[in-house]
Amino acid sequence: MGIFGKLFKGPEVDMEKSRANAEKMRVLFDQVVENGDRYRLIFGYTEDVSRFNYGLVHGSKTKIGDLIVGWNEEDQTIVVVPTVPDLSGCGDPTYYRRDQILKAYRNKYPTEAFIIYPDKSGYIGINAYDWLDDESLYVYVSQEEELAAFTDFFMKRFVKK
């Protein structure tokens, strides 16, 4: 492939780094979730957007929260574990069992986030993509196949209205 071919091809995924991070995600997840090996995993993130509008001046500030998202098809359960881009640690897991949540659906705008309302008082919006290049904000992991499986599970077995 010539120089121009490489230029137009765009960034390529470092699969070795991606695999290493996928393994680290698994170690962290299994560390805090009981029977963690029964869950399949993807990386996701939440966005906390603050907006301001002072007439002529308006804009927004976005805070990203990285998540390890596990799902178990049998139990119809999604587990969310907060983490950081370098996977140096993680927080406590939050469980969303389908029979205990208020509703769940997939957003269409502004992002195709997976929305879960555990109750009326709050919700979580999980964004997930095949691969995100910015290692300062996101976990470097390629997850095309896993994301497709998660989307299928969420849309066919977890959605609740």
Partner: protein
Amino acid sequence: MLSGLGVFLLALVAIFIVGNLWFHLVESVLSRIKKLFSRGGEPNTWHPFPPEDEAENKE
């Protein structure tokens, strides 16, 4: 004509800078107020990644 345009652009830049400063000031005050109210709650637990030999043994 050109100087008028320059003044207008400078004014826009000034409004942008002041707006951003004001936004960050309001956000920092709000986050401090939130911290004050959340002091009573349980602290978030953080689990560091286990040392490598421990992680390997688990696998």
